[in-house]
């Protein structure tokens, strides 16, 4: 019985590109977070913080639209939040890439599995889940 996957060497190439993709994503998003962090500290360093009670509306940056709006005004918090978004989408980009690579390998079962995982994540993007 043949147990191993067929395209071991093709898999290795894919893994190499995947690794680079993840690394680039992390470096890019951390750079954005740092940039936003400096602007945020520069304009807020003397202010006081109070995170003692959870308030959903406090940051005002809980949607993609709000984040982009804040970025247009060079708001440090919004830039940090954009970096966080990039970080969240790094593994999602990885799933998208895997779907394509399985497509090239003609492994349709895993194309389906990948698309299914992607659908679950995209579903969480709709804010219906947040009551």
């Amino acid at each position: 019985m043949r147990k191993q996957s067929k395209n071991f060497f093709a898999d290795k190439d894919i893994q190499l590109i995947l690794g680079t993709l993840l690394r680039v994503g992390v470096i890019a998003s951390i750079s954005v977070v740092l940039l936003g962090g400096f602007i945020y500290l520069y304009s807020n360093y003397a202010g006081t913080i109070n995170y003692g009670k959870f308030n959903p509306d406090k940051s005002g940056l809980s949607s993609v639209a709000a984040i982009f709006h804040g970025m247009a005004h060079f708001d440090g918090s919004a830039i940090i939040q954009f970096g966080v978004l990039l970080l969240i989408f790094t593994p999602v980009a990885r799933v998208i890439f895997s779907v394509f690579s399985f497509l090239i390998e003609r492994d349709y079962l895993y194309v389906l599995i990948g698309l299914f995982v992607l659908c679950i994540i995209l579903y969480s993007l709709s804010d219906k889940l947040v009551g």
Binding site: K3, Q4, S5, D11, Q15, L16, L18, G19, L22, R23, G25, V26, I30, V33, G36, G37, Y40, N44, Y45, A46, G47, T48, I49, Y51, G52, K53, F54, P56, D57, S59, L61, S62, G76, S77, A78, I80, Q81, V84, L85, L87, I88, F89, T90, P91, V92, R94, L109, Y110, I113, G114, V117, I120, I121, Y123, S124, L125, D127, L129, V130, G131
Partner: protein
């Protein structure tokens, strides 16, 4: 507390959490949540939001190094992600309906469990004998490089592993941690995957799992930039340096010391959760 002081304290704390977390294999989230809640009086919902972001950063950062070595089994990861993403979203959705005190208690119990798993002797159950029909159908069996050439391995009990991953995903979404200890149970003990493959594959999956619940947290306003920034930067920096030291040092003694610290934090979380202080 001023913004600057808060940022500096969290940055240093997150750096240490990332460093020790990567040296002991426990991850940064388990330390960063007690630090924020017990140490700095931050609401546990904010702490969870910041922690999940650091999980994505460390997972993606180290997965990049692992996949290049060709040990990660992408098919196993992808297949089990079906379970972990659904359950992580589920966990993230229900977390606000649960009394914060109970979340602290659950967190404490998971901490105790993780500490026990960390000091326990690991036994490799992997073999290349018989393999179930499901493992063959989903092409989960694979190979990995060793000193004596390429070694083949077979995956067992796919259904059991899948269900355990579902539990791990709920915990991850509920508490904002990677729940690596539960994933190890699923992969090492139930599916009997070799260590080298299970560690890297579980780490690889962690990013996608965390991303699913992080989006829910973001929408709910649980991710505050003022906390997320120092936590993410600190943990990532600590974890990167930790993985560089890891190659050169023996961590057995450190693990025992750290297990005691974690157990202490666990009891603190449980006590504060039960007395309604969190």
């Amino acid at each position: 507390m001023s913004v600057l002081l808060f940022t500096v304290i969290v940055l240093i704390g997150a750096f240490l959490a990332g460093l020790v977390g990567s040296l002991t294999g426990l991850g940064g989230g388990v330390i960063i949540i007690p630090l924020l809640t017990l140490g700095l009086g931050v609401d546990i919902h904010y702490a969870i939001g910041a922690s999940i972001i650091s999980v994505i950063a460390t997972s993606s950062g180290s997965a990049a190094a692992y996949v290049k070595e060709g040990i990660t089994n992408i098919r196993i990861g992808m297949f089990l992600e079906i379970a972990t993403t659904i359950s992580a979203i589920l966990g993230a959705v229900i977390t606000v309906y649960i009394n914060p005190g109970y979340i602290a208690v659950i967190f404490g119990l998971i901490l105790l469990f993780s500490a026990a798993m960390m000091v326990r002797k690991k036994v490799d159950h992997s073999d290349n004998n018989t393999s179930g029909k499901l493992a063959v159908f989903f092409k989960l069996n694979g190979t990995y490089p060793t000193e004596n050439g390429v070694k083949e391995y077979a995956v067992h009990n796919v259904v059991g592993g899948f269900l355990m991953m579902f539990v791990a995903g709920v915990i991850s979404g509920l508490l904002g941690i990677g729940s690596g200890a539960l994933k190890v149970i699923a992969m090492d003990n139930i599916m009997r995957i070799p260590f080298k493959v299970s560690t890297t594959t579980s780490n690889f999956m962690m990013g996608v799992t965390a991303a699913a619940s992080a989006i829910v947290y973001l929408h709910r306003g649980q991710i505050d930039p003022g906390i997320a920034m120092p936590v993410t930067v600190g943990v990532l920096l600590g974890a990167t340096i930790g993985s560089k030291i890891l190659v050169k040092t023996k961590t057995d003694k450190l693990k025992i010391v750290f297990a005691i610290v974690v157990a202490f934090l666990a009891f603190q979380m449980i006590y504060n959760g039960l007395s309604g202080r969190l």
